[in-house]
Amino acid sequence: MKRRGMSLLEILIASGIMIAAMVPLWGLMGSSHKQVTLSADEIRVSQLAVEILEQIENKAWLPLDGDYAIVPLSGELLSIDSKVKVQIGSFPEYLALGGKINVSRFPAGTSTEIGKVIRLILNYKSKEQIGKEDKIYELSTFVSGY
């Protein structure tokens, strides 16, 4: 009887150890998965940012300095300031993209403006962070006036 009880105890202890070990390991796995998702989302958003900026470069968009709010929708045309439209690639809805384009002349403070520094600031939600604070991705380019 006593020996059988010890076997049970072994199992109980083993289970306890197993549970105690698995909890952080599971957390570690979750964290890894989260990083994979975050990274994938950031890459997708960066791709979208590059697409938007390249279209702006090709259209040589040279608006007045300031901020231009944007709400890109998956697979649709994005009208920035009623003069320029860019095609947005498809992206998962959970990203809920938004943001702005900041335009500033360069060089600043000189009489001759060579072009504009266009800063694209995209706010998005990651699949892993729904309901939490938005992530921000920023990418800039220079659009020439010559």
Partner: protein, 708 residues
Amino acid sequence: MNKRNRIISRGKRAGIVLFVVLGGIFILTILILSYNHLVRGKFNESQELLKHLRAMKCAQSISRYIISKMKADLIDTNTDASSPGQVLRTAFKQNSESVISNSILSDWMSKIGLNDLLSGLTSNQSFVARLLYNVDVSQVKSLDDGNGFYLDYEKSGQITISVEVEIDKATEKWQETRPFRVIMPFPLPITKFNLYLRDAAGGDDTKFNTVIIATPETGKVITTSPRPLILTNGEPTNSSTPEDIWKNRGWIYMGGSETLLNRAGGSKEFGQNYHSYFPSAAKPITLVFNFGPWPIGSRNVVFSVARWGFADTVCNGPDSLLWQSVLKPEFSKFPLTAASHWASTWLHLFGESPQGSSASKISHTRVIGDVKDRYLEVCYLADSATKVPVGAVRALSSADYNTARSSGPSIPGMSALFVKTKLIESDVPPALSLQEFIALEPLFLAIPWLTTDGSVCYYTIMSKIDNCSYSETYDMIAQYTSTNQKVDIPPSAAAPLTSDKAFQLPIEGIDTRNIEIDKIAAVNDPTLGLTRRICYEVKAEPAPGKGAFEVLQENFCYKQTSLNLGNAVLRVVTGGVGMTIVDGIGRHTGGNIIVDGPVTVGSFDSSDPSVFDPPLMIMAEKGAITVNNGGSNSTLAYLVALGNGGEIKCSKPNLPMNLVGGIAAHTLDPSKMAGGGNLIYNTFLDPTDPAFTKKYVGVVIGPPGGNI
């Protein structure tokens, strides 16, 4: 035994579960850690990827900015030596690849704010960004293929911009190669003159001198009478040279201010560089005077006074009464007397002397029949009876005179070229109010032939001599006769540098001693070699004609209203239909438009800060250029129509045509310009002027991977 064995056996199995579980946990931990490590690696890799992406975007942007800034600076008209455009243009005018690269890198690229741009592109980011850049110029090749006339800095080549951006150890390099061309946008030597006609005479000696005066007493012009163009070389006239006097009298006015006819004039304290032609049918010569401080014998020589000399035909000819009526103010001011009337039949184009505020201003050039000379003559007024000269040279010190006299041997026969008397200091008509007259004949006799050391000398030239008809004189306006099309002019005279101190400097890359227009370009080339300098070709499609200008407006205009050629040469292809430049156009930057057909030039806008700057040329390869002369603003361009049938016309012949620039045409019919007008030379069109090359030499950066 069996019982003991069972106990031992059971004892052996004790802890196996724990062992298995712990082993499993260990293996699972290893697997999960491995997975986590892999995921972290992938995450880091993706972050690295994003950094590379960001670095590449920065490098591309900076490269784009460098090219754009280069283009912008190359059309900058700032003449400050330290301005970016000036620095860049100076660099591109070098002919060594390494010198161009190093100059651009050290003098220009280091000052255009590249690190500021990098900061702007990476603002709000936590990573560290670093920038490296380089310039490499290669394949530099002179445009001179032996078949044309090029300045030594005209060339083509390739420029490669390298930009390397490092963001948190993620490095990306971007290279961009562009072709470039350095060209002179205006053709030599035509743009040295404000009027050049290939077939000026056309059998009509009177040409522009067809003004009809109502009565000799009033001297007023019949309103319907064709009136002449007023040719002005140099700055606008001032109150002492009222153009209106001459406008209405059928004369071509070639005076102006300190810059004289044939561009021989310098200005101000450095004196004048004069040509003077002397009558000898066998050996036409010119006396090149340079009154700068350099040549021996010329120091301090200042011809300071301009006075009228009335031609014999004016005084004694069949129309002398008419002339005396027409020139009543002049005859009143300088009355003819029995003792002396001014027998000079030369044109007098004396500049003002800077040495005396009371010195007279430039005189006007009269182009009438029986003029003996086209250009400046020594101011030499002689009594017709005694041949005693009565004026007018001064300010030659005795020391300088003696120096000049001893500087060369006497030239046999030269004395025949001058009035055989000396200028004297006495018997000067009071009206002249001259002082310090000095005999000059020995000086002239002592001046040597054909020296190349920069001293004052006589020099052969294509000038015709003796009495010239009006049309011959007219031809010579462009130093180009109908019978002798060789331009053979000493360098400093052929293309006198307009900057005061540069009179004696060799013209950059040119020896104009034997410039023949036919060698500059083929006789049938209406663009005088400019086709080889074309940087862009604009095709009007689908609608030719007016559509061509719309294409220009879209691509080569600033705000669609001002031509922005960037000092380049453009050819507009219209299939021979031609192009209409709309009214109200302006010039943001200068350059040259060559159209393959006739051109209509609309009125210019009035917003230009300067009528001279920037210089613009419009060429019609075939047909005429018609100027819309109805507007209130001058046409601000040099017009070239040298093809067969090429002429310059007005849309409204009875209204004046006012042009700032110049004309080079096959023919010019004055009856089509009955309203007269002004033709003012724009010195900014002079490609041999260092001021021009500083500001307006065309340096054009081509498209990536393309040719230019």
